[in-house]
Symmetry: C2
């Protein structure tokens, strides 16, 4: 007896939210079912005939979203005319027509789950999309490197070409290392999955925590650099940097609530535009330099603020290493490539690393040739563009392309973090809410959480790039290191063809990554990196707590073999502090025949709302007891008289509440009833007044809601609300 | 079948919350009951025998509150041992033991309702208690008067004795006027009651709004003056006036949450202490003056800031009139006097006016004789005390007594406003919550509301006395005027013995009060009085809206004559916008036999929580339909298979939700079911996971709560929660 179904099926990633029953559970279900068979035979006075025909309700073959609401149309075939119902989602029912219009304009029409599988990418599209984060890193990597070196003065800045060469070596090493990951995990695996599978749960969670830091700071760093790109070009805006940043956060938030649909072709062009800008910039720089025989312009002297030591150089190296953040993106998204996925992914990765090395070393070289040093009020790329093109349209083009690239780079986090949270949630390490896809197949909760955290960090550091970079490096290289260590273990376990070479490459990558990690964490510990040293263990602890809770829940709702006889009579005394005596009753599986009933109806007055609740309770065919709470004797007597006039159809208990409280006496009375017969299921039937407008709620005592909350901790107490709708 | 009752009865003012049934309603109840008789005979398969014995549950003869919780003890007589249960009030269950300890220390033990009637007062106790507000007015009245006059310079200040004489005349007039009210309303009646009974609802609400302004500003003005008393004595505190004020608000708040118990004897002595201080001050001043032949000390010249005109004099007069605020107190509290109440009350009122006239004119005279003019940094009383006693202990005594008097004067509002709100709530013009007495017989909601509003006004005006005074005068004299106009109408209607004299006195009082009102409102309109001109109509409008809502509710729940046949089949088509089609079904009185049932159980998975809900639904003996929402076909098929393995005991409907929403498809499905058979009551049985810790709620989808909210607007849909308790 199931409704008609749409013809197309889709692979929703949320499919694992409700895992199928295991073999043992299936056997238990059969056993339990056989016990029910007898019970249902006795009970089925209604002969299995329903007063409705569920099969007449069906969805049309192709489900269409309505224009304004997140609503699934339901078609009643009864009268042959399809009917579009008003949205019944409470979140939507409460917003006005204008609110829904705004929502639809900002966020777009809902998407079918099947839209997900259509998002396979050609290499030429995948390269800019998956590589956006990596390419954007070129905009802040040199800035981060030279920003630290400049502290050592002109002499230190002279070391820049050397450090750039070392960074290129690091890029190649890590790139080769990740090529192994792509081959080994054709279904895609981020640092969390690789570390978890090969190193264990705790390293996995550590990698995940590092990744969270990575994603959060990627947004903050990209926006900070984006703001610099704007203020370099438009000096009058310099004072309102934080406002500019806030605006960029808002753009990312709204754009991402709209979802992944735009991520394909629409995300491809900014990367190419940026690459073209970089090519122009480097080309112009080299052309100028060639004009003067490749002789570097002597840089204006920079005063040293710190002594030039090994530590400074290492810190500069670690900061500069942020130029390669995003290099791991391919390994996460292998399944998004067209088949053969892993080979296409690996080729794309190689191309990405080549492009990275070319642009990064090109920019570093041109900066060196033009003798440009970091300045607080203008970004390096802007200075370079000014040198190359003056103040003309080409300068504007470079700045605009950089800003765009950074925004799209930041956007990578909006795909990465929700997907990481989804994976964590699937492993029960994150709240289940992250499993839920929004209207537009985006993980809305993750999108909002990322924006909030990232914006907080951005504000906390006043949008200062140099302060954000060390935190960024710690998060990124923590994840890199664990991922590559995981790969080392992977190859060691597999020992397939060519495992030694792969292992060696991954070990090299792990070693270099860990060096950067240690340098970044130690070198800037006091200036902000301590934040991650606190945040990462906190995240790990939280993830394990969450997992423990879900495990206990799964154990609690697990089916158990039915106990012969009447298991619900075994009252277990408990010494729990706030657990009331009634709570001692165990919640076991019961077949319908085993349940003994008593309905209790709190009645305040003989009016329509109360009588409807009373009639409902009486129609259930179970014993009914009415309870009246009275502040004083004369009221009690009066009510008893009225009750008698009505006919005294139901036993009535009157409780005097001389302290004027209503809930406490009632709850205590119910507890006492329950104690008298712990094997009886109490059904509390409450008349619930439903108001039309929110402010009307202030005018009513809302006893039903408060009583429901008060009774919630009690076992074997079922609460039933019989609504009575008040006029507006 | 009622529980044992305590022997003492008490007259709780909340008794009118549940009015008795009228004669027509009683007839209806009998008619409805006779219809039930047949239905119950058919249904009473359980033969009227309950599985519990409610008569075995009783309260002990004398109910004692437990030490720490707002809890009524319930004694189970079954086992002969009384058992003290843990507090079951949700508000208390959620606070820790320490929280409860703190609450008890601050607020005290709960009081029995019967404690209210014990609060009858002798005249010597009543005078200072009821007169506290009036006496406290002496502390700010002269300040308010001279503060305005000083704007006109030394010449204007010379008019002070003249104005003081006029004020004394006003005091006597209004006092005589209120003597009539006490006689006419021996059961006590504030301005609201008098105006409402004699002039109509709107004037009544206007008077009530004026009184609200009066009460709110009385607190703000008293505390502002109290702060001046402190800072005059302790100049170093001058900078932290607002903090001092906040501390005084806190004292009043906590003190009043403790309730009325302390209001008798404990509230008497501060007034006597203050009167003694005033007597000392005036005596010393006269003694000094006598020493120099009663010649006034020439005041130091004061520069005029405004031209001396009629308007300035009138404004000064209106401001000075605040010296008589609180004169109406006796008319509110006649029943608190010992019998004969009205005569004792009237005598007390006369004494109060005499004392007021003596202290006010004494203070004004002494100020004149000593040549004291207002100074921004020291209050007039403090200057007077300095002149009389230097800086010695007597000076300290005067200041402390003034502060104490002001605090007790402010406290009057804490009795007046909650009582006014209670009266308004009884007339359905204020939220029902104000009917509720707290643990300590105080109207807690009113206490908190008053403190919040008053503190906001105090902060809004930066605690500036001269800015607060005109608002105060407007509120007070609005209520005075309407109250006395009401009395005029009262005497005109009654025309009993001596009505002409009473009418003349009240008319005189009304005339003078209205003059002060107009002067205060017009003279300071731009400087703050406009606030009341907005707030008062707003309050009146709100009160009428609230009354309209309660009237509609009463009409909605009113019993109606039963319609023969099956009234629930008449579906009324409605063009309402967001009301779903299912909502068109009318909510009429039904006898149990007329209700047709269908239980619907949303099942997500065959686990313990879901099976318990299913078993509960099946045990109700009504037709049951299970509904499973599935995001995709393969999951749906899997669930159908598991369902079959279990035995397919209940019809199952599967709804595919390709937009991943859970609630919207389910709600739409239920609406469709309801549309198929609008006369069937749908009982939605929800398994509800109950978490132990608040943060665990974030880890669960809380479908039950969200679904309950979504289903609430639907008529004929009953929601039943079957709880399943998760481990901590």
């Amino acid at each position: 007896m199931s409704a008609a179904r749409p013809k197309r099926t889709a692979t929703s990633p949320a499919a694992d939210d409700l895992p199928p029953l295991s073999g043992a559970e299936l056997r238990l279900v059969r056993e339990i079912g056989s016990r029910w068979a007898d019970a249902m035979e006795d009970r089925q006075a209604w002969g299995g005939a329903l007063p409705v025909d569920p099969s007449a309700i069906s969805f049309p073959g192709r489900v269409r979203p309505t224009g304004w609401g997140r609503v699934v149309e339901v078609e009643a075939l009864r009268d042959g005319e399809p009917t579009v119902l008003e949205p019944a989602d409470p979140e939507l029912a409460e917003v006005s027509r204008w609110g829904r219009l705004l929502r639809r304009l900002l966020i777009g029409r809902p998407l079918l789950s099947s839209a997900l599988v259509e998002e396979r990418m050609r290499k030429l599209v995948a390269l800019p999309v998956v590589g956006a984060d990596l390419m954007a890193s070129v905009a802040y990597g040199p800035e981060a490197l030279l920003g630290v070196l400049a502290l050592g003065g002109s002499v230190a800045l002279g070391l820049a070409p050397l450090l750039a060469a070392a960074l290129v070596a690091l890029m190649v090493t890590v790139g080769l290392s990740y090529r192994q990951t792509v081959r080994a995990y054709p279904s895609g695996a981020g640092s969390y999955t690789v570390a978890r599978e090969n190193l264990g749960v705790l390293p996995g969670l550590t990698a995940a925590a590092g990744l969270v830091g990575d994603y959060v700071l990627n947004v903050a760093v990209s926006i900070s650099t984006g703001v610099a790109a704007v203020t370099s070009a438009l000096p009058p805006l310099r004072g309102s940097g934080l406002w500019l940043g806030a605006a960029m956060f808002a753009i990312l938030l709204v754009g991402n609530l709209r979802g992944v649909r735009q991520s394909g072709a629409a995300f491809a062009w900014p990367t190419y535009v940026f690459l073209a800008a970089m090519a122009l910039l480097i080309g112009a720089g080299l052309w100028h330099a060639a004009g003067r025989g490749m002789a570097p312009v002597p840089a204006s002297p920079v005063r040293a603020l710190e002594p030039l030591g090994v530590l400074l150089v290492l810190r500069a190296f670690a900061s500069g290493a942020t130029a390669m953040t995003g290099i791991e993106a391919v390994s996460n998204s292998v399944p998004a490539f067209r088949p053969p996925e892993w080979r296409n992914g690996r080729t794309t990765l190689t191309w990405m690393v080549v492009l990275l090395v070319l642009t990064f070393s090109g920019v570093m070289l041109t900066l060196h040739l033009e003798g440009i040093a970091p300045r607080p009020d203008e970004s390096l790329l802007s200075q370079l563009a000014h040198h190359a093109f003056g103040n003309g349209p080409l300068y504007g083009y470079v700045q605009a392309a950089t800003l765009l690239m950074l925004l799209f780079g930041a956007n990578t986090s909006y795909h990465g973090l929700p997907r990481l949270l989804f994976t964590l949630a699937r492993d029960h390490h994150a709240p289940r809410a992250f499993l839920r896809l929004g209207d537009r197949l985006a993980f809305n909760n993750g999108v909002v959480a990322l924006t909030a955290t990232s914006f907080a960090v951005y504000l906390g550091f006043r949008g200062n790039l140099q302060a954000l970079i060390p935190l960024f490096a710690v998060g990124v290289f923590l994840a890199f290191t664990l991922s590559q260590l995981g790969m080392v273990v992977h190859w060691w376990r597999q020992r397939g063809a060519g495992w030694r070479r792969s292992l060696a490459l991954n070990a090299m990558g792990a070693l270099m990554s860990s060096l950067v990690l240690v340098t970044a964490a130690a070198g800037k510990f006091l200036e902000g990196a301590w934040l991650l040293v606190i945040a990462i263990p906190l995240l790990i602890w939280l993830a394990t707590r969450i997992r423990a809770h879900y495990d206990r829940v799964a154990e609690a709702v697990r089916l158990r073999p039915p106990v012969p006889g009447q298991p619900e009579l075994t009252v277990q005394p408990r010494a729990a502090s706030h657990v009331t005596p009634a709570a001692a009753h165990e919640e076991v599986e019961q077949s319908p025949g085993e349940i003994r009933h008593l309905a209790v109806v709190p009645v305040s007055r003989l009016d329509l709302a109360n009588l409807r609740a009373l009639a409902y309770a009486c129609s259930l065919g179970m014993p009914v007891l009415a309870v009246h709470i009275s502040p004083q004797q004369e009221q009690a007597d009066r009510f008893e008289y009225e009750w008698g006039e009505w006919g005294d159809h139901v036993p009535l208990a009157i409780v005097l509440a001389p302290y004027r409280a209503l809930l406490a006496p009632l709850v205590n009375y119910l507890i006492e009833l329950h104690r008298q017969a712990p094997d009886v299921t109490l059904t509390i039937v409450l008349p619930e007044l439903v108001v039309r407008r929110a402010w009307h709620r202030l005018l009513h005592a809302n006893v039903a809601a408060r009583l429901r909350r008060a009774l919630r901790p009690l076992r074997g107490v079922v609460v039933t609300s019989v609504p009575f709708h008040l006029p507006a």
